[in-house]
């Protein structure tokens, strides 16, 4: 009988911070103290608080240790597990109050969240189906198997669930189309391609609670009358693929998939397809082409996949997070579900909070919460006491939200009205050191590279827009460049074949809308207000700080720096090529930019 359970996070973030080493060291220490039969170690899915990893929780007391290292294990075992003294230095310290907290529920990062979909992530062993079942897993499926397919569709419809993959299409309605579509063979597909650079919620759900996705998928199959599913998952997510395979094998063993599931007479089969690294394959028609083994190029719609999808059969495609919501709706009812959220957006949404915030990680919040609460309460504000500039939401299809809109409720419709987009749920916070023109250039370079080349507006338009943005960030912008960008943006948006091109101009349009002055500073004053665009910087040496060590003189490839030993040096602006070598070299911070 175990007296204690220790959960160590084995999400991708924590593993790279040293989970494996911590586990090994802990095992050794337990053996040394003869505790190996009293303490059970569980490797859990992602806890969301990746910044502070590896996360280490001791139950039943619920003591939350963070940033633990293998070297800490002797002390932790000796002091805490043996003697019962809490190891203060490994507890979480609240950056605002500087106090320590012991339980994770007291940490603002967690207490402000509403963890419905993530309820099991970091709590259960994702490779053990029994732990999922004990926490109410597969009850939703059992209920669904006792219902008429149309009844399931109607339940999901009245829950108000909208797709979490980006567009926010009502899930119940999508299921109804697929249900009504004639055909004896139909498919359900789970979109786990998660291509948005800066987002990892689907990854965490797949790694931390794979059975929730399977359960949602089986329910969807029942609702539309399908007996076969595909999960299309990025090959860049090897751990997610492995956990899915384990989960599928376990569910088969329990009779939850396979022939005659739970004696209902229905059959269901789940296949896994590994993606091969193309952003556009997240788009549903391109995804289907990719499963069919073709180049992942989008097809014109209509016909919609619900009518003519995989191998020409009616197909229903849903995102990972959408499907993970479904078991909750079936289990607790549509009214329970729709009690959370706003008029047009029900339930919760998971965001990947990253960038220049103090607490980076995954957070799940009720729809309608303000951006300010997410960034400042959950995220703990901006790093290093810097000033907030913007949040970029929705990845390459989304936009930037400025300070003036921080009180905006986060739901599908408000974000769209602000020119951004819920997208997949990536939320990258930026401070005063981020250049918004450079950011727009960054996103365009991404979409331009990922454009599949099938339609001209997207292939050529993104390229031309990128050229203009590169020119501006290099200090070669022309006064007409802003109107040119605006004109091109509208053309690409209106005439591209698929969502990639239709949304690619969004990062440019929102930065132009809210940060036009930064574009103008680059073009008219040849100045980058954030001090990031290298070609626009002027370097100088602060004579007060300079120690005269001559290391910058040696580093300069253009021989633009002069000065005797122990005398302040100076940069000759005429010779300087703005390479930044002196800036990187100086140990004293004497090289500055203006």
């Amino acid at each position: 009988m175990y007296e204690r359970h220790i959960l160590i996070c084995a999400g991708t973030g924590c593993i790279s911070s040293g989970t494996r080493e911590v586990k090994e060291a802990l095992e050794n220490e337990l053996i040394k103290h003869n505790l190996q039969d009293k303490v059970r170690i569980i490797l859990s899915g992602c806890h969301g608080f990746c910044e502070k990893g590896p996360i280490f929780i001791v139950y039943p007391e619920d003591i939350f240790y963070c940033e633990v290292k293998a070297e800490d294990m002797p002390e932790l075992v000796e002091e805490y597990l043996v003697k019962g003294n809490i190891v203060e230095r490994l507890l979480y310290k609240d950056p605002t109050t500087a106090g320590t907290v012991t339980s994770h529920e007291e940490i603002p990062f967690y207490s402000r969240q509403k963890r419905q979909v993530l309820r099991n992530c970091g709590v259960i062993d994702p490779e053990n189906i029994d732990e999922y079942i004990i926490r109410g897993g597969y009850i939703g499926l059992k209920k669904a198997l006792g219902m008429e397919p149309l009844e399931i569709v109607n339940t999901v419809k009245s829950s108000g669930l909208r797709g979490r993959g980006g567009a926010g299409f009502p899930t119940g309605m999508k299921w109804e189309f697929a249900h009504r579509s004639p055909g004896d063979k139909k498919y359900v597909v789970c979109n786990a391609d998660e291509g948005d650079p800066g987002a990892f919620m689907d990854r965490s759900v797949l790694e931390g609670d794979p059975h929730a996705v399977l359960e949602g998928l089986i329910i969807a199959g029942r609702a539309i009358g399908s007996d076969e599913a595909y999960i299309y998952v990025r090959a860049e997510y090897p751990l997610a693929v492995r956990r899915l395979r384990t989960a599928i094998a376990q569910a088969e063993e329990y009779g939850l998939i396979g022939q005659n599931i739970l004696n209902s007479g229905a059959n269901f089969k789940i296949n896994i397809k590994e993606g091969a690294g193309a952003f556009v394959c997240g788009e549903e028609t391109a995804l289907l082409a990719s499963i069919e083994g073709e180049r992942g190029m989008p097809r014109p719609r209509p016909p919609f996949p619900a009518v003519k999808g995989l191998w020409g059969k009616p197909t229903c495609i849903n995102n990972v997070e959408t499907l993970a919501n479904v078991p909750l709706i079936l289990r607790n009812g549509a009214d329970w579900y729709s009690a959370v959220g706003t008029e047009g957006s029900k339930g919760t949404k998971i965001f990947a909070l990253t960038g220049k915030v103090n607490n980076t990680g995954l957070c799940e919040v009720p729809m309608g919460i303000s951006l300010r609460e997410i960034v400042f309460d959950i995220g703990g504000g901006i790093r290093g006491g810097k000033k907030y500039k913007a949040v970029q939401i929705g990845g390459p299809s989304g936009g930037c939200i400025p300070e003036s809109l921080l009180d905006l409720p986060v739901d599908f419709d408000s974000l769209t009205a602000a020119g951004a987009m819920m997208g997949s749920g990536g939320m990258v916070v930026m401070d005063e050191d981020t250049c918004m023109v450079d950011l727009a250039r960054y996103f365009l370079s991404f979409t331009q590279r990922e454009s599949c080349g099938k339609c001209t507006p997207c292939r050529e338009g993104t390229k031309r827009m990128l050229e203009i943005l590169e020119r501006i960030t290099r200090g070669k912008g022309e006064p007409e460049d802003i109107p040119r960008l605006e004109k091109l943006a509208v053309a690409v948006k209106d005439s591209s074949l698929c969502g990639l091109g239709q949304t690619a101009p969004n990062p440019v349009l929102t930065t132009l809308r809210y940060f036009r002055d930064e574009y103008e500073a680059h073009i008219f004053d040849r100045r980058c207000p954030a001090g990031l665009c290298r070609d626009l910087l002027t370097y100088y040496i602060d004579a007060e700080v300079c120690t005269g060590c001559r290391s910058c003189v040696k580093a300069c490839p253009a021989e633009a720096i002069s000065g005797e030993k122990k005398e302040p040096h100076a940069i000759d602006e005429a010779k300087c090529i703005s390479c930044g070598a002196c800036f990187d070299r100086c140990k004293f911070g004497a090289v500055k930019t203006k």
Binding site: S16, C50, E194, E274, G277, G361, M430
Partner: protein
């Protein structure tokens, strides 16, 4: 590769290895991507003779196989190094200054994106998001992820490979 060396490579190519890999896929649909994934797992890249052989066996034009192989970032047409360095160019990493890390890494290895060092020890690649954005800037070497990078940390990390 010159015409002659290409011919020589074709002659000495071990087609049986490809044939063995193909067995489980014959007479199935939607197999192009998985076949190429298998071949790449076996050879480390997609040798040209292997792709031509696949086309022949599946009775499809070689251009179709090439089309799929060049569409996806995952496939490589040239041999790669023993260790694969993948620096993340995703948004979170971009905002937290991965550019300097990427530049430094290329400087240390002396190669550009998609290139392999002369001793075949490292191939340098860039990817869009590894999914460990909380630890930005991030890179992977083979299956190991390294987070919270700075240009100064790179040399120390590379020593392990």
């Amino acid at each position: 590769m010159s015409e002659e060396t290409a011919k020589a490579a074709e002659k000495s190519f071990d087609y049986d290895r490809v044939e063995t890999l193909l067995q489980e896929f014959l007479h199935k649909k939607g197999v192009m991507v998985p076949i190429l994934q298998k071949i790449q797992a076996e050879f480390g890249y997609l040798p040209r003779p292997a792709m031509e052989y696949v086309a022949k066996r599946l009775r499809i034009p070689v251009s179709k196989v090439f089309g799929v192989a060049t569409f996806y970032a995952q496939f490589h047409l040239h041999p790669r190094g023993k260790n694969i360095v993948r620096v993340c160019r995703g948004t979170a990493c971009h905002v937290r200054g991965v550019s300097k890390v990427a530049e430094k890494m290329q400087e240390i290895l002396g190669v550009g994106v998609g290139q392999t060092t002369e001793d075949m020890n490292f191939t340098y690649e860039e990817v869009a998001c590894i999914g460990a954005c909380g630890l930005a800037p991030v890179m992977m070497i083979n299956d190991q992820t390294y987070g919270k990078l700075t240009p100064e940390k790179l040399k120390g990390i590379l020593k392990n490979y």
